[in-house]
Every structure is written in C-alpha cells, then in structure tokens.
Amino acid sequence: MTRLPAQPGEVIDRSRPVDFTWNGQAMSGFAGDTVASALVAGGVRVVSRSMKYRRPRGYISNDYWDPNGLVQVGDEPNVRSAHRLIEPGMAVEAQNVWPSLERDLRAVTGLASRFLTAGFYYKTFMRPAWLWPTYEKVLATFSPGGRIDPDTPHRYHDKRYAHPDVVVAGGGPTGMAAALAAAGAGARVLLVEHCHRLGGHLLWGDEHDRALAAELAAAVETAGVEVLVDSTVAGRYEDNWTGIVQRSHPVAVERLVKARAKVLIVAPGLIERPYVFDGNDKPGVMLSGAVRRFVNMYAVRPGSAAVLFTANPDGDAAAIDLERAGAEVTVVDARRGEGIVRALGGSKGVEGVVLADGRRLDCDLLVTAAGWTAPTSLLNMSGDRPVYDEAAARFFPSVSIGNVLATGGLAGDGTLDELIEHAMATGRLAAARARAVSHRLQAATARAVPVNGEEPEWPVDERPDLARDPHPALFRSTTHGVVDFSEDVSSKDMVGAAAEGYDSVELLKRYTTATMGPSQGKLETVNTVAVLAEARGQTIAEVGTTVWRPPYAPVTMGALGGRLFEPVRVSSIHPWHEANGAVFMLAGQWIRPDHYGDPAGEALNTRQNVGIMDVTPLGKLDLRGPDVPQLLSHLYTNKWMKLAVGSVRYGIMCGEDGVILDDGVTGRIGDQHYMMTTTSSGAATVWEWAENWLQTEHPDWRVHVTPVTSGYTSINVAGPKSRTLVRRLVGDVDLDPEAFRYMQVRTATVAGIRDCFMWRIGFTGELSFELHVPAGHGLTVWEALLEAGEDLGIRPFGVECQRIMRLEKGHFIVGQDTDGLTKLPAVGMPHLLKLDKPDFAGKPELTWALDDTSTPVLVAIQPTDPSVVPDEASQIVRPGTDEIIGRITSSRMSPTLERSVCLGQVLPEVSRPGSELTVVMIDGRRITARVMEHHAHIDPEGERVRG
C-alpha cells in the first residue's frame, strides 16, 4: 500500500515474499522486513495501546527501543517489532488490548485522565479496606505487556566463553573503524552489533554513507574480526566481564557469550530523543530516524503529507528522503525559532499540527528531530557518571576509565572522517592497552613459564578530542505531552509529582514510574530530567541523571539460564535397584532407594538375619600425609593423635560457633593414610571445611584431602548373620570377633575384588560390616552378596529401613535431630568433647556452652499410647499452654518393639528420664509422652554391634 518502488539502500529481498498474520489477518512482506516495516507497508498505523489511558499508539522510533512497538509473537511476549524480522507463518498480535486493538473498552480511563495523574493510586482505593482485593484485581488488568504460556518449555539456549582482547560494542562506522584499527594492531577483536547487519546509521544514510558502510564491513570481514550481529553487549561487570546476548544463533534459541574483555570499546552511537508536546504520542508522530529507516532501508513511506520539525542535519536529511519518496513536506525549523505546540487528530492518528506561531497545518505524518540521547549505560556500569553539556544539549562521559573507551557519538561530533579517525585511534589505543593488561594478567598468574619482557608502559590516551556540535536545547514545547511512552507518564504528571515533593530524579522516577518500563529510559531519561529541572527551576546539570543499571537491553531469562546443568548422582548399583522394585528418593544430588516395598519388613529381617544397603552417597574423603592426625584433632571435638592403624573412631565436627556441623567415622588404613566418612548431605561442606583450615590457617600441615565419594561403592552388610555372609566372600582377612573387632578397619579382597576396605561400625545397631568397593565393581559385589546370602535370608534395605533402625538405636541425624543452634553438649555425648586438647574448631564456644542450661537437649521419647506416632516437627508444649518447650525431631513405629519411638529436643527442665511431656499433634490433638533413660530404645548396652 505504501511500499515504495525499489530504493537504492533497501535491505529487503523483493524476490522472497513472506506471509504472516497480524491479529489473525493475513499480511505480507519481504524477507528482510521487520515486523514494523511490513505492518506499516501494509497500511497499519496503530500497533499498540498505551498502558494507562489505552491511547492508540504507532511507531515512534522504529528501532529496538520503540516503546510503542511491543507485540506478541506466538508464545513470546514483548517482541520488539521494529527489530524482529518477519518469518513465514509468524503470528503477530497486539498486546494487552481488550477486546481488540481498534476498540479497547478500557480506554474509558482516558476520559478520567485528569484525575488519574501519576501516583493517583496511592491516594485512593483505601476505604473500605475489604474492597481492596477487588481494586487490586481491576488494577492488575491494566498491567502492560504480552502473555506467557505457563506450559512453554525452556528450549535450547547455550552459553559460550569468548577470549578476545577487545570487545567493541556497536557496529556502526566508528565501531567498525575501531575494530579494524585494533585488529590491525594485533588484537583479537569481537565486534558486537545490536541490529541485523553492520553499518549503524550509515544504513539509512545517503549513497556515500552506504558506500562507506559497505567498504568498512568488507574490511572487517577480511581483517579477522569476529562479528556478532543481532547481538547486544548487555552488561559490563567488574573487571570488564561482559555478557553478550547473541539472539540469532543457528541452533540455540539464544546464546549468552561471556568475555573478559581486556579492553571494552563502547560505540553505540546516539539515540534520537522524542520531543514533548501535546499529542506527541499520536500515531503518525515519529522521530526523523524512524522515518529514514522506513524509507531508505525498507522502502516504506510512513505518510504522504508530512510536517517535519527539525533542529539538526539528520532532520533535514529526513525531509529530503520523504520528498524523494513522494511525500509533501513542510519543514518547521527550530534553528529559525519555529516550533510546534500540539498534534491534532483522533484515535486513528495525527491529522494536523499547531505551530508556535499559531498556524495550523494538516498532515498525516509529524516528524521531530529534536536532539540526541547518549546511551551511556555501559559506561555507567563501568563507574562513569555522565555530565550534561548545555551547549550540545546532551550528556557526555566524565571519567576516564583505563580499560573502557568510548568513541563515536558518545565521545563527540564531527565529520564522518573525523569520527572514524577518532575511532581508529581508539582501536589502536585499545589494542595497546590490551597488551599491557595481558602482560599484567600473566604476571599476576602463577605460571610455570616465565613472562617474557618488561611490563609495557601503560599506553597514554592521546586521541584527539572530538568537537561537540552545538544543538538547541529542545525538550518540551509550551504544552504538556507524554514523556514516558511505555509508562504513559506525561510532563504534567511529572510537574505535579515534583510539586508534591518527589523532586529528586530518583524519587520522581519511583513515584511516576517514568523510565522504568521496557524501554529502560533510552528515549525518556533526558526528557525526564529536563522536565524536572524546569519544574524545580534548576539546570539539567544540577538535577543530574538516574543510574543506568544492567542490562543495556532486556535479556531473556532463557539466555541467562542457558542449559540447566543440574546433575543427579546414582551409585553403580542403581540399575539393580531399578530392576528390583526400589522406590527412590532424592537426597541432595543423589537418587537412592528409599525402600523396596516393605521398610518395616526390611528392618525386621535385618534384625533377625542379614540385610544389605547401598550407602554410596556417604561422603568419603581420602586423607594422606604425616599431619592427618593434626587435621582430625582440629576438625573433630574428640582426640585423634593416637588412632592406631586398623582402628576406626567416631567423631563430631562443630563450627566455630560450637554448632554441630557433621559427624561420621574415620579409619586409619595405613601409616599415613586415613579414610573419613561424612554424612551424605555434608560431603561437600566437610571437604570445604577441611580445605579451609588447611589452606588458610595451617598451610604448614602436610595433608592431601581427596574426595572419593563416587570412587567407592559403599555397601552396609548388617544383621546377626552378616559375619557369616562376609566370611563367604572375604578370604584374606581374619573375621574372628577377636581379630577384627568393632570399630576396626581392614583392607580386603571381596568377591575377588581387590583394594576394598571394610570396617565394623553399626548405625543400624546390628553387627555390621561396611564395605567400600572400587566403584566399577560395586554391582559385582552387591550381586555376589545377594547370591551368597540367599540361604541366610538376605534382603536389601533402603533409607527408610535405616532410619527406623537408627532411631530404634537412638542414633541422631545431623540436621534432623540437630538444628542450626544445637551445640555438642546438647546431644548427650560428653565423652566426645575433649576440652584438654590444645585447640579445635569451636573450642571456645563449646567451653561456654557447657554452662548453658537454657537451650534444648536431645532425648529419646516414647508416647504413652504405643500406637500413636507423632509427626516429626510436632511441638512439645508446657501442659495447658501453647508455650513451646521442645519438639519431636524423629519418629517412627518400631517394628521390633511394636511401638512408637521418637527422638526430640526439649528444654533441660523436662529432659530428665521419666519426665512427662505434652505433644501437640499436627491435627491439633494433644498426647502425652515420656522421656526415656537412654537414647537407644533397643540394646542400649550395644551388645549387638559388638557381637
């Protein structure tokens, strides 16, 4: 409809038509069209509705930042339609309109706009209070944006680490020139361009511009510069860590490229600033750059009768472009003191304009070229605070940052030649500084190969300063208009808010939400500051600007999340468990059998015959070196200096606050070789804990700590017949009770597998052997045990059975029966606390804790009614009150005793054996229970384990 004949610089491929839909209606464009250009070519003028007043909106800046151009594409919300290219079959819809884009019934708010000034909601909807939830729901219907489908999967996103010397943000003329110069000086360069092709503003310029763009792009291609188009340097973080979002990747939906740039060159160009006047958000009011892109790149004429308000050569060029495209153009020149005050027109868009001199002109396109905003985001993120230059009417960087260099429009103005010269100098400087940084990095890194040469001198910035072209300070006309298009905030709103005391730029931003919408203030920030300055009678420089925070452009959660690498771990016996009816549970990263269908039966069988359990997740640390006893003495609260070879000891570790951190056994396998086990969930923590002491406090201790949890498959063989069973598979160890006693360790050959070790311990309370088998042979040994134990009544058992049995035996579990405040004295094991040791982790706190009589202690508890099992976490209260004096930490029905058994924490005053307790069940019932004499409900003397 408004598609022009072929334009010399067009980027569309007329030989490849592309069909798509707009709000369900068939549309057509060409390959290379953006959604915006295809829509406007098809005669579409209104593409969205404003957030609050539901005013119809058309394209204003026609680029990625266009606040009016957000659309829904399939299941993807908030797609930048002036950036996204059309694809065959694409379903594009207007967002957040009800019932339709043409007739949005919520536009009634527009009628009340006089009352609905910014922040009006803080002043109303308060009474009656019970109605607030309803108000809330109504307000929520005004929330802007598209919609997500909760069932959309997270598709394939990827990440990559890049290692360039120089990252150049911006692929316009200066970005390309800087990249070329840096590459020419020997740097590895990554050039990142936000749009779909290199060229920047040259792409919509005249033939000289386009020729230069082509020349530079060709040079970049042959210079060995890596180029990422349709990609954005989204953030610059500490030490030039840059996050780059690559939107068009052949395989991944998006890819996050992370690079530690030795030097970052920031060359994003300038963003055209809207002009604030009455009606400035009517469809058909556009920025000069928007018009030039439509006409020159996409051969689309956005209007036929144009009024063009210009203050700069870019606006003048837009007039020429429009005339060439066959539009009538009336120029209103700000430099001659002319001005515009009001756009006229209804819901279909602009129909005319009132000039400052009172004249009224008809038009269907109102173009403004009122000045520029410097997108200094990446410099802000590097610590720069831009300063306003009154003569040039825009902000400039104020700080010199060694490894972040600005060029192009951020740095100043000039002819293209001057700008390119500055950019080349920037590229050379960047390459030289990258070399210096590289040298420093090498020198700071411990390396076997010495660094060659002296540190080069830090290259001095000798770039010529770019001039700053004077520009009229045009922000707001004599009428009020929209300042923030995303948030529907007018200059009137801002003036009112400032008068109410929200008169610093941060308060104003928070109160009116200006600059906080999807365009992140790219178009609005300077106007916001200017309006506030005017309202306060201050200069723009005095008001200052807001802090631009990362990201530079919004980044999808998918790109940030990437592929979700969340490993799960299974033991080598896992396939057997799967094939034999195991019901699994998740324990940290481990998937392990909870039971095999009958945990109580598994427990009874283990007490009577023999059972085997896969305990591979048990944390295992191989400790070697002459100073292992020192380390053990420091980590555990008991004594370790005299542990004999072949012996095993139980220990508890506490943090420096005296709180129990972990527990487990450690055995001495050889003279300078120990094996430590930790709880399954504590394996990583204990390793870090040990390394922390070794690396920071005792680097002199000669100890190697190697985590070997997955290196061994661990099998617990428990039950009165366990010795008989183990004897059938182990020939090289004397298993006689006197020769291999409780709490001893032996290396052994088990079922023909050498280099196993086994120890006699007893978490279940039964005679038991814990076998640690080189992981590759775990399944072999497991199956050999099952086969050899068939006549002994062998059955596998799972975590649930183990929990039952350990509770019957009164063994606590760190983190379940203890909590973040439980110190060692609370668990009733005074023999494990050896305060006469020179030092150990937690010693001072534990010394004090001994005197503490106010914190809960661990006790065994049995409900009066043996059939009642209070849920874990049931609270224990003072009788007749709700005052909490303890809680049940573990509870189970004991198949052995045929009664409920518990562990719990209670205040010392009720911890004596025989004390009666009131337990509040989860359903609210209150039951009585009794504190037991021993933690162990079964075999308190430990005869079974020692058997």
Binding site: T124, G145, R147, R549, L564, E566
Partner: protein
C-alpha cells in the same frame, strides 16, 4: 501550629483535579535546626517508622530524621517487598506477625495506599528434609496463631499453575509451606507514607544530610566515646546538631555509624542482589520461595517478576550487580517455572545487607547512653520496619527495652544467647 495537610481520598482526588489544585508536598522541607530531642539517622522504613511512632504513640515530635541521600534510597527501595510472619522461632513469629498487623492497617492508619497485596506466600520443599522443616515452621506458627500449613503438589499447582510440579528429576516440588496472610507491598509507598505521617505530626525529614560523626562524652574509648559515655549530638555535612538521643537506623553502613559513637557491632556487610523482568499479564498470583534453589519471586500488580537470591558470599560495600547473579537465578527460576523462558530481565540492582552471626537484628540500647541501634537487619529488614519503629519508639519513650525486642539486644553476643532464625531467615523471603 502547623496546618494539617489534606487527606488522600478518591473524592478529594476528583475535587482537587476539578479545581486544578495542586497537592501539597508529601513531606515539607524545614530548615535544619541545631537541636532536637531525638535524631534518627537513616531515612528508610526503620528510621521513618521510628520517628512516626515516637510522634504518634508517645507525643515526642521534636524529632529529625537525617538521610544522606533521598528518603528510601537504601534497602527500603531495593528489597523485593515480600511480607510474611511464618518464621521458625516463636520470638520471630510474634515479632513479624506484629509487623504484618501494622502493615495490614497501614493504608488507613497512614492515609496512603501502600497496596499491600495479601496474596499468599508459598515456600517450596524439594526434599524430605526441607519438608520436615516446613512442618516444623507450620507447627510453631500455628501455636502462635499464624495461618500457616503444609500443602501438597496438587494444591501448589492450583495456587501457581506456572510451577512445574511434574516429577522433575532434580528439584521435585514435594510440598510447600503455605502462608495465606503473606504477600507483597509497594515498598516506596511505605517510605512515603511514614514520611508523610511523621511530617503531619511535626517530625522533620532532612534529605542530603549526612552524619559524619556522633558526639559522645565520658566514654572509655578514645575521644570520650564508647561504653560508659553518653551521646550529645551528631555532626553532619550541614552543621552540628545536639540531641540527647541518637538512633542508628541505617543499613549497609550500620557498623561504621556505630563506630562513630564507639560502639562495636558484630556486623559484616554483604551485597544482596535483585532483578525485575519486563511486565507480562499476571500469571503468578502468589509469592514463591525456594530455599534449596535460593530464589524468591513474585509478580507485581504491574506484571513484572521481581526476584532475588541469597546474599553474595563476600563482604563489600560495592552495590553493582553481577552477571553470575542473573545467570544463576534465572537458571533456578527456570527449574521451577520453565514457562518464563521468553520473559526478559529488565533491570538488576544490589543493596547492602548488614549481617549478624545469628541472622537476627541488633535492637535497643547500647553501652553508650542515649545511643540506640536498630540495625543488623540482614535481608529481612523491610518486613520488620513497622514493628521495629514501634518498638524502638517505645524504648526511647519509656527508657526500657520492650519484651518484643528483648531477644535482639546487643548484649546477647556477650551472653552467647543467639537467636535461632538462621534457617528460616537465610533465604526465607
């Protein structure tokens, strides 16, 4: 006698607009005087609430709140605005529940719509161990009269359909602690509401007024500061102020401010990061927290997802965001709700958290007479703002420590009587 400002209401909104009358300043600007009865350092929720309740509950109105930047520029404007009272210890539950009460009636009490959305709060359990902790919290909560219970995956899916409750391999959603009275609020409006309320009662708010020293005499330390001394006033970038009572309501710099009085605090300062996405139509009607995945998320009335994680694992005063935070948190959120993959992160930021060893605050009197602290609020200060202000005001007015804040006294570190909120508070937003 200062004139009372007009009240906010729909009727006045219409009538003033019709008569084109501009609303008066939300709080007035007064010249800084050289003497006040009470000086509050820090113009965030805690400082403003303290000042407001001093005036409202105790008639102490000769009060100045000093803020080095703009009101609400610190943690009050940087948090994720989640409110709840389903804590782990009875002390914690009672304390935060009082805060929730004050938040519930705040819109009417302060005549400012702070938009408290009591939408419900769920804390997910991905393992039987965390499910056990949820039960523990629920039982403690119930005994304190707080609405809190453990719900299963089917109920969770009803509350938040976007959550992946399938038998996920790594982080299955086994259950959740459901706390219906929890929700989110417009945090800036809370700041402005207290400031406006305090202003109405005669309290002065001074922005861009930085305390550079605290004047103490008679103390054991250098310059007469420290234990045994008494406070006489503060020195600011705008001149000296004498005051018999000085309250430290700062965050991020609490230990440095207390150092000025010679009071040492067991505080280390760490950044806490947060981020917000672009808006989409509302799909998440409850607050969702996962302690295991270190993430909490809610969707504002404007449709943005606001989320955060646990504090960064290092001490610094740097408040720049990191890429690792956004990567890690996005990944964790996608584990829970893959459907948000195409939403875009719009902005990230950081604030400073003053961490104490037991994840509980330091409140009340200090060894320097007249110098009080309401600090060490870690990552949970915003939700405690109202009750802290109320209790601090009571402490100042009555010269004794109210029961509610007794457990949080500075002296607990000498008595080794730490508070057991670490588990529930660490990532317990």
């Amino acid at each position: 006698m200062k004139q009372r400002p007009p009240r906010y209401s729909a009727a006045r909104l219409v009538s003033r607009a019709a008569r084109k009358r501009v609303w008066p300043r939300v709080w007035r600007e007064a010249p800084l005087r050289n003497s006040y009865d009470v000086v509050v350092i820090g113009g965030g929720v805690h400082g403003l609430a303290t000042a407001y309740y001093l005036a409202a509950n105790h008639g102490i109105t000769n009060v100045a709140v000093l803020e080095k930047s703009y009101l609400g520029s610190g943690g009050s404007g940087r948090n994720t605005a989640i409110l709840r009272s389903n804590y782990l210890t009875p002390e914690g539950v009672i304390f935060y529940d009082r805060s929730l009460d004050l938040y519930r009636t705040m819109a009417i009490d302060l005549n400012m719509n702070v938009m408290f959305s009591r939408r419900g709060h769920i804390t997910l359990a991905h393992s039987d161990a965390s499910l056990r902790t949820m039960h523990w919290r629920a039982e403690v909560n119930k005994l304190q009269g707080v609405d809190s219970s453990v719900i299963g995956p089917a109920d969770i899916k009803k509350l938040a359909p976007v959550l992946d409750t399938s038998s996920h391999p790594r982080y299955p959603i086994l259950g959740a602690l459901y706390h219906p009275p929890g929700g989110i609020i417009r945090h800036d409006a809370v700041v402005w509401g207290y400031a406006r309320g305090a202003d109405t009662l005669g309290v002065e708010m001074h922005q861009k007024t930085e305390v550079v020293d605290i004047k103490v005499t008679g103390g054991d330390g250098p310059g007469g500061k420290g234990p045994g001394g008494r406070v006489t006033g503060v020195r600011t970038n705008r001149g000296d102020i004498s005051a018999p009572v000085v309250v430290n309501c700062t965050a991020g710099w609490a230990s440095l401010i207390s150092d000025m009085a010679g009071v040492k605090l067991p505080i280390s300062t760490r950044p806490l990061q947060a981020a917000v996405t672009e808006p989409v139509k509302v799909f998440l009607p409850v607050v969702v927290v996962s302690g295991t995945l270190h993430v909490y998320v809610s969707q504002t009335a404007r449709g943005e997802l606001v989320f955060g994680a646990s504090v960064d694992p290092y001490n610094t005063y740097n408040i720049r965001g990191s890429l690792e935070f956004t990567e890690g948190t996005a990944g964790h959120l996608l584990e829970l709700m893959p459907g948000i993959s195409r939403m875009r992160l719009l902005r990230q930021w950081a604030g400073l958290c003053d961490m104490t060893p037991d994840y509980s605050p330091v409140m009340g009197f200090t060894p320097v007479e007249g110098f009080l602290c309401d600090v060490g609020w870690g990552t949970y200060g915003f939700k405690a703002g109202p009750v802290s202000g109320e209790q601090m005001a009571e402490a100042i007015a009555t010269q004794r420590t109210p029961d509610l804040i007794g457990p949080f006294s500075l002296s607990r570190f000498e008595r080794d009587a730490l508070v057991g909120e670490k588990g529930a508070a660490a990532v317990g937003h």
